[in-house]
Amino acid sequence: MTLDTTEPLLVVDDLAVEFRTDEGVVKAVDGAAFTIDRGEIVGVVGESGSGKSVTAMSILGLVKSGRRVRGSIRFRGRDLGTLPAKELRAIRGAEIAMIFQDPMTALNPVVTIGRQIVEALRLHDKKMSKSAARDRAIELLALVGMPDAAARFRQYPHEFSGGMRQRAMIAMAIANGPSLLIADEPTTALDVTIQAQVLDLLKVAQQETQAATLLITHDLGVVAELADRVVVMYAGRVVEQGDVTTVFTTPRHPYTVGLLESLPRLDRDVDELHPIPGSPPSLLSPPPGCPFHPRCPLARDNCRTDRPELRVVGNGTAVHRTACHYAEELAAVPTEVTG
């Protein structure tokens, strides 16, 4: 197979996913588009219901009860939407692996950690002998910083702390040397102190495997810490994307500005937090035009009718895109969140 090295590892193009419910059609993802290069860490941020997780599950072709109505997902030049189920299964877990939010429920409670990693290995390499898989599993556990890996190998998930379980999950995810790791809120279920460790570990795992990472989170701090680029999603659409520093220092979408302003900060004397007014729109009947207009301080008449498309902004050195008609006004007024 010839690999098109000019094309990014993953190309999500105009992806739209709908769910049919009793109340109507929910447009969970509505025209999401972004790319991930080899070895790159891309953070996808957005509120609950912004379509981040559905986008991730679409990449794996595992959207339960939802339908992809538009768009394509190309991985290493192959359209994942047209692959037969068997080839898709061969990609899942081997080339694209996932780290789950809650490591307690994502592990089978009555099977030892070691066996679960061994199974993950042998699922994709049927010829691997049990002892080879065992050695590799212990090696992986050691790699993710599991003290006394050989003893831990024989333990059950309930004998692990939350952080250790997440380490085991990461070991399992990188077991088959994936080229794309999807981490869905990998630190949300953990204590703050453990979060930092797991983030460090994600970095290590990323360096070890050279895997590109799609980091789904609502935590801008996590993105700032880990990601090279950030994709901001709102109401099933990408509203802004660019490299982390550019987006965080010079945001060009009012939603991103709102997200950054709503963060509590320790380095500045702020009397109160500034939440974004209003709430995310219903995806059953998204507002016409720009989905953010009901909450946007910059909204004009054409925001209510014309849907803004992603366009390049800034000086063009780093590709920074936003979907806002009035992005330049944000540029004119230096935002307070710089830093």
Partner: protein, 315 residues
């Protein structure tokens, strides 16, 4: 570990218990408990279940070593000595054809256990596959399979058994198949229930994400999750199958003389005179059936409590 042996009444349980045995020793060594190890501990604490198991082991030994235990042939007809009362020569007397009742009782254990174990195994195997497939695939396949199961359950099974035995003719393989056909729906429903519960678990989703096929998920997650309950139902099914064999053989539709089974031994005892004056003809096989079925049920209850302590009747 010897007190674990008793429930070697089905190869399935035997296999499970061997695992239990090895896992317990391993668990003791590492001061760690596996789910199987804990279940084995709970089972061993249950005196009634262990007693039932010991009894079953004795019956099993009796069946296996029948030629050594019974000095007489179970089929040797002696028309000069029919319906003789128990004596030194014939410990349990002789039947209407002058055959030694003790020898027949011992050899009949072979037939009863064989039919009981294999019918239960077949039913459990069929039920597990049907239940897991129905639960995992859902949709019309689920509907078709489960409505079939409902239909089987809504017929009086004895009628089906009689009809099947009548059509296919009486023989041990047919007996096993027909008993299995009438009992698989119980396992199917159980396994389907477990499958539906496990299917929604996050770890199954994780398995799917890791590229697992449905077959793999069945083998690695669903069947193991249901295994405890499958073993329990399988054990209880053995009791049902032994009873079914006895009923059919009693009615003349099961094991055919001269081969002995506990059921067709009772067949000889259909007249009032026999019941009133020749208890050696019907009491031993009757007691054997009752005691064996009871012992199997004790073991089954013990296994259920061991596998799922929440269902235990005791506090």
């Amino acid at each position: 570990m010897s007190d674990l042996r008793p429930s070697l009444d089905t190869p399935e349980v035997a296999a499970a218990e061997e695992v239990v045995a090895t896992e317990t020793t391993a668990a003791v060594r590492s001061q760690r408990r596996s789910p199987l190890g804990m279940a084995a501990r709970r089972f061993r604490r249950n005196k009634i279940a262990v007693g039932g198991g010991v009894f079953l082991l004795l019956i099993l030994l009796l069946a296996v070593f029948a030629p050594l235990i019974a000095q007489q042939s179970p089929t040797a007809v002696d028309l000069g000595a029919i319906r003789r009362a128990p004596s030194g020569e014939h410990w349990l007397g002789t039947d209407a054809s002058g055959r030694d009742v003790f020898a027949r009782l011992v050899y009949a254990a072979r037939v009863s256990l064989l039919v009981g174990i294999f019918a239960a195994l077949l039913a459990v195997l069929l039920g597990t596959v049907v239940g897991a497939v129905a639960g995992l695939f859902g949709g019309w396949l689920d509907t078709v399979l489960m409505r079939t199961a409902d239909m089987m359950l809504s017929f009086p099974s004895i009628v089906i058994l009689i009809v099947l035995a009548g059509i296919l003719g009486p023989s041990i393989p047919i007996l096993i198949v027909s008993i299995a056909i009438t009992t698989w729906p119980t396992t199917a429903r159980l396994v389907r229930g477990v499958t539906l519960a496990v299917r929604e678990r996050e770890y199954l989703h994780a398995a799917r994400v890791a590229g697992a096929s449905r077959g793999w998920m069945l083998r690695k997650h669903i069947v193991p999750a249901a295994m405890g309950q499958i073993v329990v139902v399988g054990t209880i099914s053995v009791a049902g199958a032994i009873l079914a064999e006895a009923v059919l053989s009693f009615l003349g539709l099961g094991v055919q003389p001269p081969q002995a089974s506990w059921g067709n031994m009772l067949n000889d005892a259909q007249s009032l005179t026999v019941i009133q004056s020749m208890p050696w003809l019907w009491l031993p096989p009757g007691l054997a059936i009752a005691a064996t079925v009871l012992a199997v049920n004790f073991v089954g209850d013990g296994l259920r409590d061991a596998v799922d302590p929440r269902q235990s009747g005791r506090s």
